[in-house]
C-alpha cells in the first residue's frame, strides 16, 4: 500500500524525524490560504507547491493540460513582493495543477489526476543526499541504503556508479547500531553537527521501518541545510499489505482514487487482479500459473489483457466476480480460463463459470482448460450447460485456441 508524500511526512514528523513545515490543500482557496501562515511560521518567503500523486518524477513531470507547468514548483515571488505576491503565484499555479493530469516518467503516458497539493516552506540546501530503508532479500533483513547522489534516481546511480551507494544491514534483534549510523555519516562525508543530526535521523528512520511495517522508506533528497540541519525534503513510504491489519491509522490514509477501480474491486473480493494492455482475458488459479499463462499467451503471439489469480480456494461467487471484472474491460476479445485444481476443485470452477455467464452474458469466445481434482465432473458441468465453450487439454493448446478464436 502506498500513501502520499504529505502523509509520509506526517508519519515521520510524529516520530521526531525532521521534515519541512507544510500544509495540504484540496482546493485553490486552501492553497492560497496556506501561504501566509506558512511564511510567517517558517520565516522563509520561499514556498514550494507540490502535486500529490502516488508516483515519482514529479519535479520533471508536466501537466497535459498545461505543458509549461511542472509537478513541483519553487515559488520565489515572496522574496521581493512579500506574502501577497507568493499568494498570487500559488493561486495561479494551483489552478493549473488541481483537477489536471500530471505526466511523469513513472505514471506512463496516461498520467495521473492531481486532486491534492502540498505547500511547503523553502529550505536553504547545502547538500542533497539519498537515504532509503528496504528489504535485502538475499539477507532476509532490512537494510539502509545511502548515497551522496541525492535528487537522482537511485536506479541510475546503481547503474552508473554503484560504488557511491552505501549499504548497511539492520539486525532485527538490535536495530541499527550507533556505529553503523556513524559509518554511514562518515561514508557520506558528514562532519560536526550535520553528522550528529544525520545519525539521529537514520536511527529514527530505521526504527520507523520496523514499527510501521514499511516495504520502502525512501528520502530523496535528504538535505543538509546551510546551518547543519538534516531534513527529509521528499518522503516516500509504501507498506507491507500483509501487516496492515495492525495499522488502522495507516489504512485510513489510503487514497482509493489513486488505485485502479477494477483492481480495488478484485481485492475486496479476495482476488488478485492487474490490468494490462492486451486483448486476451485470463482467469487462473495460483500466482505462478497466472503469470505463466500470460507468458504463454504472449509466446503464441497474443497479448494478455490482465493478470488474475483466483487463489487456492475460490468459491463459485468469486469466479463470477472475476468473470465480471474481466468482461468489463472493453479491450477483451477472448477469455482463457486455466485451472489446475489442487485444493481448488474443477467442478467449483465450472459451476462458477456457468453461473457467471448466466449472469453477465458472454460476447467473446471462451476457452477453458481444466486439470486436476474433479476434472471429469467439471468438464461435464460445462458440457451440460450448453455454453459455447472450447476445451483445451494443455495450457499451450488453450493459449493457441483462444488466440485463433479471438482474432
Amino acid at each position: 500500500m502506498k500513501i502520499h508524500e504529505y502523509q509520509a511526512k506526517q508519519l515521520m514528523a510524529a516520530r521526531g524525524i525532521p521534515v519541512p513545515m507544510g500544509r495540504v490543500a484540496m482546493s485553490v482557496e486552501e492553497a492560497v490560504a496556506a501561504v501566509r501562515p506558512l511564511i510567517e511560521e517558517s520565516g522563509n518567503p520561499v514556498v514550494v507547491l507540490k502535486a500529490q500523486i502516488h508516483a515519482g518524477g514529479r519535479g520533471k513531470g508536466t501537466f497535459r493540460e498545461h505543458p509549461e507547468t511542472r509537478g513541483v514548483n519553487v515559488i520565489t515571488d515572496g522574496i521581493a513582493g512579500g506574502p501577497a505576491a507568493a499568494e498570487r503565484k500559488v493561486g495561479e499555479l494551483a489552478a493549473k495543477m488541481l483537477g489536471n493530469t500530471l505526466v511523469t516518467i513513472q505514471t506512463g503516458d496516461e498520467g495521473k489526476l492531481v486532486s491534492r497539493l502540498y505547500l511547503e516552506q523553502g529550505i536553504d540546501i547545502e547538500r542533497e543526499l539519498y537515504l532509503a530503508v528496504l528489504l535485502d532479500r538475499s539477507k532476509s533483513r532490512n537494510m539502509v541504503m545511502a548515497s551522496t547522489e541525492g535528487g537522482v534516481e537511485i536506479e541510475k546511480v546503481a547503474e552508473e556508479s554503484p560504488e557511491e551507494i552505501l549499504r548497511v544491514e539492520i539486525d532485527p534483534a538490535i536495530g541499527l547500531a550507533s556505529f553503523q549510523a556513524n559509518e554511514l555519516a562518515h561514508g557520506l562525508g558528514l562532519e560536526g553537527d550535520a553528522a550528529e543530526h544525520f545519525m539521529e535521523f537514520v536511527e529514527a528512520v530505521s526504527r520507523a521501518a520496523t514499527d510501521l511495517d514499511t516495504e520502502l522508506i525512501e528520502i530523496n533528497p535528504l538535505v543538509v541545510t546551510v546551518d547543519g540541519r538534516v531534513i527529509a525534503l521528499d518522503g516516500k513510504m509504501s507498506f507491507d499489505d500483509n501487516a496492515m491489519y495492525r495499522h488502522s491509522d495507516i489504512v485510513d490514509m489510503r487514497d482509493e482514487t489513486e488505485e485502479d477501480a477494477a483492481e480495488l474491486a478484485a481485492k475486496s473480493a479476495g482476488l488478485s487482479y492487474i490490468k494490462l494492455e492486451g486483448t486476451i482475458g485470463c482467469l487462473v488459479n495460483g500466482a505462478g500459473l497466472a503469470m505463466a499463462t500470460m507468458d504463454t499467451i504472449k509466446h503464441v503471439g497474443g497479448e494478455p489483457a490482465n493478470f488474475l489469480d483466483v487463489g487456492g480456494g475460490a468459491t463459485a461467487d468469486q469466479v463470477t466476480t472475476a468473470f465480471q471484472i474481466i468482461t468489463k474491460d472493453p479491450n477483451v476479445k477472448g477469455i482463457f480460463v486455466n485451472i489446475f485444481g489442487g485444493i481448488m476443485r474443477c467442478d467449483v470452477i465450472a459451476t462458477g463459470i456457468v453461473e457467471a455467464v448466466g449472469r453477465v452474458g458472454l460476447e467473446v469466445p471462451l476457452v477453458v482448460r481444466l486439470e486436476g481434482t474433479n476434472v471429469e465432473l467439471g468438464r461435464q458441468i460445462i458440457e451440460e450447460s450448453g455454453l459455447e465453450v472450447t476445451n483445451a487439454d494443455s495450457l499451450r493448446e488453450g493459449a493457441e485456441k483462444i488466440l485463433e478464436l479471438s482474432t
Binding site: Q106, L135, R137, S138, S140, R141, N142, I154, E155, A158, D171, P172, A173, T210, D213, E215, D240, D241, N242, A243, Y245, R246, S272, I274, L276, V284, N285, G286, A287, G288, L289, A290, M291, A292, M294, D295, T296, I297, K298, H299, P304, F307, D309, G312, G313, F340, G341, G342, I343, E371, G372, T373, S394, L395, R396, E397, A399
Partner: protein, 307 residues
C-alpha cells in the same frame, strides 16, 4: 532415497482450524504419519479423522482409515509425547511466525509453513531466530513437500504424483502441480517435490534444495521453477554451473509482468530493472539449464536435459 521427508517422518500439525483439519485429513488419507496436533484452544480434546484411503499414496494400506489425533497446547509438549520430528504450519498470518519459532524452539528438524500472508517483518524476526538452530524451514506461502508414496506434508493434490526419479523445486504452487503432472504422464515421476514459497523472506532456498537433490542417489535430474523478483534463480544458476553434475531443466514465470506491479505473490515484483524473467532465463541457460519456453514444455525440457 528422497530428500527432506520419507515414510519415517513423524509430523505434527500446528493450527487445526478449518484449513488445517481439511489438509490433515488428506495427508492421513495419503498415508503420512500425522502424529499430533497443536492448537491452544483444543488442548486435550483430540480430533477424529476417518475416510477412504487415497490409494495414490503410501501402498499396502486398508481401504479406510480412522485416526484419533491427540491435540496439545504447545509444540514442546506434543514433541515430548509423540517424538514428532517435523511440523506443518496452518496457523493464521498474525501468529504464524510465532508458530515457526515455537517449532524451532522445540527442536524440530523440519518446519513446513503453508500460511500465506505473513508480514515480512515477522518473517525477518523468525529467520533471525532460526539462525544457529537445527531447524530447516520450508516456506512460508508454499504448497509444502511431498515424497510420493511415502509422505505428503502440505496442500498439494496427492494423486498427480508418482514415485520416480526427478526432483522438483519451485516458488509457485500450481506451477509445481503442472510440472509434477507432466513428469507423471511422461513416466519420469518424482523423488521429492518441494515448494519453497512465493514470499520475499523464506526459509530453504533453491540452492539448498539443489544441493540435497545432487546428493540424493535416487534423483537423476531436477526441475527448478522460478519467477520474477529477487535473485534466487540467478544464485541457483551459479550453483548448477559450479556444483551440479545432474541435468537440470527449468522454467521462469513472469516474462510479461509489467515492472513495479506485484504479481499475486508478495515476492513477485520487478523493481528498478532487477528481478526480470529475461535475466533469470539467461542466467539459467548459461549455466546449462534446459529452460522450457512455456509451462506446458517443462516435462519435455526435463527429457531433453536427461539426454
Amino acid at each position: 532415497m528422497s530428500i527432506l521427508v520419507d515414510k519415517s517422518t513423524r509430523v505434527l500439525v500446528q493450527g487445526l482450524g478449518k484449513t488445517g483439519q481439511f489438509h490433515t485429513d488428506k495427508a492421513i488419507a495419503y498415508g503420512t504419519q500425522i502424529v499430533a496436533g497443536v492448537h491452544p484452544s483444543r488442548d486435550g480434546t483430540g480430533i477424529h479423522f476417518e475416510g477412504e484411503t487415497d490409494h495414490s499414496g503410501v501402498p499396502g494400506r486398508d481401504e479406510t482409515y480412522a485416526v484419533d489425533l491427540p491435540v496439545y497446547a504447545t509444540v514442546k509438549e506434543a514433541v515430548a509425547e509423540t517424538g514428532a520430528g517435523a511440523s506443518v504450519v496452518y496457523v493464521p498470518p498474525p501468529s504464524a511466525a510465532d508458530a515457526i519459532m515455537e517449532a524451532a524452539a522445540a527442536g524440530l528438524e523440519l518446519v513446513v509453513a503453508i500460511t500465506e500472508g505473513i508480514p515480512v517483518a515477522d518473517m525477518i524476526v523468525a529467520k533471525r531466530y532460526l539462525e544457529g538452530k537445527r531447524t530447516r524451514l520450508i516456506g512460508p506461502n508454499c504448497p509444502g513437500v511431498i515424497t510420493p508414496g511415502e509422505c505428503k506434508i502440505g496442500i498439494m493434490p496427492g494423486y498427480i504424483h508418482q514415485r520416480g526419479r526427478i526432483g522438483v523445486v519451485s516458488r509457485s504452487g500450481t506451477l509445481t502441480y503442472e510440472a509434477v503432472h507432466q513428469l507423471t504422464l511422461l513416466d519420469l515421476g518424482q523423488t521429492t517435490a518441494v515448494g519453497i514459497g512465493g514470499d520475499p523472506v523464506n526459509g530453504t532456498d533453491f540452492v539448498d534444495c539443489l544441493r540435497l537433490f545432487e546428493e540424493d542417489d535416487e534423483t537423476e535430474g531436477v526441475i527448478i521453477i522460478g519467477e520474477i523478483g529477487g535473485t534466487a534463480e540467478e544464485e541457483a544458476a551459479d550453483f548448477v554451473r559450479s556444483e551440479m553434475s545432474k541435468p537440470v531443466a527449468g522454467f521462469i514465470a513472469g516474462t510479461t509482468a509489467p515492472p513495479g506491479k506485484r504479481m499475486g505473490h508478495a515476492g513477485a515484483i520487478v523493481s528498478g530493472g532487477r528481478g526480470t524473467a529475461a535475466a533469470k532465463i539467461e542466467a539459467m541457460s548459461r549455466a546449462g539449464v534446459v529452460v522450457a519456453e512455456t509451462p506446458s514444455d517443462m516435462g519435455e525440457a526435463m527429457l531433453r536435459a536427461l539426454g
